[in-house]
């Protein structure tokens, strides 16, 4: 069987928009970024062993004899991991390779028990695809995907438990990673961060990776180089293991600036691997290896070529969920949301799922505003994860329904919202219990207005001369009715009584 081999190479070189150029002392520079994102497959067990792939656990407890590289142990591939790689590929509109192969990447390190990592070097399971990414000017760009391959994660070396020794925990050893390699299509720190964000959103939609950056489920190796706009390509540096969108942007910005300064001083860039220091926001050379790496890749003789059928791929395709770009379009079309609002909601499947549940049968735009302004605002302020929101989607929808059908007005709704957070109760329970129903009884409202007009005759006169005073009057009436009066009715009656047109 003849299969075309693929190696990650820099091919596409569109020029950045002038607004993305970086000003140097000697002129403008353009940043070229390509990323290799490692996303851990959301599997129960490891890529080649039946040990648990779950995060945490006592050291070396999620370890089989395969993961610890014991003599005579052999790998057997996890079907679910193969499916997730294909699923991710389909989500990126990528070519799925029905024939792929595992190679060994040989190097010595204490957290690499076999002395090699099983990876797909020449023949990855997923080929070229693309991902829509928002640029800093709110336009979208397409970032090419070079390939996705499956590989084993390494274990964890802990250097601070003993001054003279390293402690090794192999719980992660052998967990399945998807390495998603982009083309060098990214042109700014913001685009780099947004690419990472969009990719995270996609894998979470697909359910192929939990995207949990704190637990290391997604890490990026960021390749950065600079050049004169449209000019000859520069030497690139690879920044390893950047684990948040914010850090991706910071690392690219710092690294580009560093390279520009060197070049403008007449220096040259060494192709090297660097680390991003989250404390200083700087990148630094990883302690240089004593010798150049020579990984001696060769096909793993313990495994056979990975052959899948078109039916296998089609079966996965049939279960793909609606993807972020399609969902965004639907939110714009069906709910009348702005592109920006729709983008915020679809950025995270949790958000859009919540939104759709809350908006069912009520005013979607109003739900959007309560969700993104009030709820997000409160969560942010109080440092609460969205997943732990005290207000369920159903309850937020219930609140909006009460506003919509006139049971409460917007002002009362804010109080109800606060009480919902406090108690976790639904809106109608709170409204009922606290008697917050809006008054539409015109008689009662008229009486409240009459009483106020009688006590403040000078303000009556003032209002008749300055119709803008109406707002002040509405406020007074609302206050005297405990905020429960229907503001529209108050408005109407006041106008009549004050004689304002």
């Amino acid at each position: 069987m003849t299969v075309e081999a693929s190696t990650p190479i820099f091919t596409a070189f569109k020029t950045a928009r002038p607004d993305q150029w970086v000003k140097g002392v000697t002129g403008d520079w353009e940043i070229i970024v390509g990323m290799e994102v490692h996303a851990q497959v959301a599997a129960n067990s490891k890529l080649f062993s039946g040990a648990s792939a779950s995060y945490g656990g006592a050291p070396n407890s999620h370890v089989s004899f395969i993961d610890s590289g014991m003599p005579g142990m052999l790998p057997v591939i996890n079907k679910f991991c193969v499916e997730q790689a294909v699923r991710t590929g389909l989500g990126l509109g990528a070519k799925i390779n029905l024939w792929s192969r595992f190679d060994r990447k040989n190097y010595f390190y204490p957290d690499l028990p076999q002395g090699y990592q099983i990876s797909q070097y020449l023949y990855p399971i997923v080929g070229e695809g693309e991902l829509e990414v928002e640029s800093e000017d709110k336009s979208t760009i397409m970032v090419g995907i070079e390939r996705i391959h499956l590989e084993q994660d390494a274990g964890k070396s802990i250097h601070d438990l003993d001054p003279d020794a390293t402690y090794v925990d192999l719980n992660r050893s052998g967990c399945a990673l998807m390495e998603i390699v982009s083309k060098p299509d990214i042109r700014s720190p913001e685009e780099a961060a947004n690419y990472f964000k969009s990719l995270r959103s996609l894998v979470r939609y697909l359910g192929t990776c939990d995207g949990n950056m704190d637990e290391g489920s997604m890490r990026a190796d960021v390749n950065v180089s600079v050049r004169r706009p449209g000019g000859e390509l520069g030497t690139r540096c690879e920044i390893k293991n950047v684990n948040s969108t914010k850090f991706v942007a910071m690392a690219v910005a710092y690294e580009a600036r560093r390279q520009i300064e060197i070049l403008e001083d007449g220096g040259s860039i060494d192709q090297e691997t660097r680390l991003f220091d989250v404390k200083t926001g700087q990148t630094r050379t990883m302690r240089s290896k004593e010798d150049a790496h020579d990984y001696r890749y060769f096909p793993d003789p313990d495994l056979l070529p990975l052959v899948i059928t078109q039916e296998f791929v089609d079966g996965i395709k049939a279960t793909l969920p609606e993807l972020p770009s399609a969902k965004k379009q639907r939110f714009i079309n069906d709910f009348g949301l702005s592109a920006y609002d729709a983008g915020v909601l679809v950025a995270d499947k949790e958000f859009s799922d919540y939104f759709e549940e809350a908006a069912s049968g009520t005013d979607a735009k109003m739900v959007n505003s309560w969700l993104t302004v009030e709820l997000f605002g409160w969560l942010n302020k109080n440092g609460v994860e969205f997943a732990n929101s005290p207000i369920s989607a159903k309850n937020l929808g219930g609140l909006v329904k009460l506003i919509q059908d006139g049971t409460i007005n917007g002002k009362i709704a804010k109080d109800v919202f606060a009480k919902m957070i406090e108690t976790g109760d639904d809106a109608s329970t709170i409204v009922e219990r606290d008697g917050l129903k809006q008054t539409t009884d015109t008689g009662a409202i008229e009486k409240a207005i009459d009483d106020l007009m009688a006590t403040q005759p000078d303000k009556v006169t003032e209002a008749r001369e300055k119709p803008k005073m109406l707002g002040w009057w509405v406020g007074q009436v609302m206050k005297s009715t405990g905020g429960k009066a229907n503001p529209a009715i108050v408005n109407d009656i006041l106008k009549k009584k004050l004689g304002i047109e």
């Binding site: 067990s45 996890n78 390293t166």
Partner: protein
């Protein structure tokens, strides 16, 4: 092709094998002897031949994603030259 002393030192380093200085020339001769013998393969015409990685004519079997292994910290660490608190203990490895 033949190897030099420098090559031998390089591949010994890649292989993580300490090699005594006086052994290097000996190893150069031995490896060159073997490599010269291997050169015989250049006589074989392999035009259009697919490289053979396995003799097994079946597709890679896949297993279900179930946790069926692990939870055996003591067994995993049993043969370790050095272990502490559930970890393997190895010489300081600095990035």
């Amino acid at each position: 092709m033949s190897v030099s002393e420098k090559d031998v030192r390089k591949i010994a380093r890649l292989s993580r094998l300490a090699i005594q200085d006086e052994k290097v020339p000996v190893m150069v001769d031995e490896l060159n002897g073997i490599l010269n013998w291997i050169e015989m393969l250049n006589e074989v015409n392999v035009d259009g031949v697919e490289p053979m990685t396995s003799v097994v004519a079946q597709v890679l079997p896949m297993r279900d994603d179930v946790v069926s292994d692990g939870n055996q910290q003591a067994a995993v660490l049993k043969n370790a030259p050095k272990a502490d608190s559930g970890f393997f203990v190895v010489p300081k490895a600095v990035e």
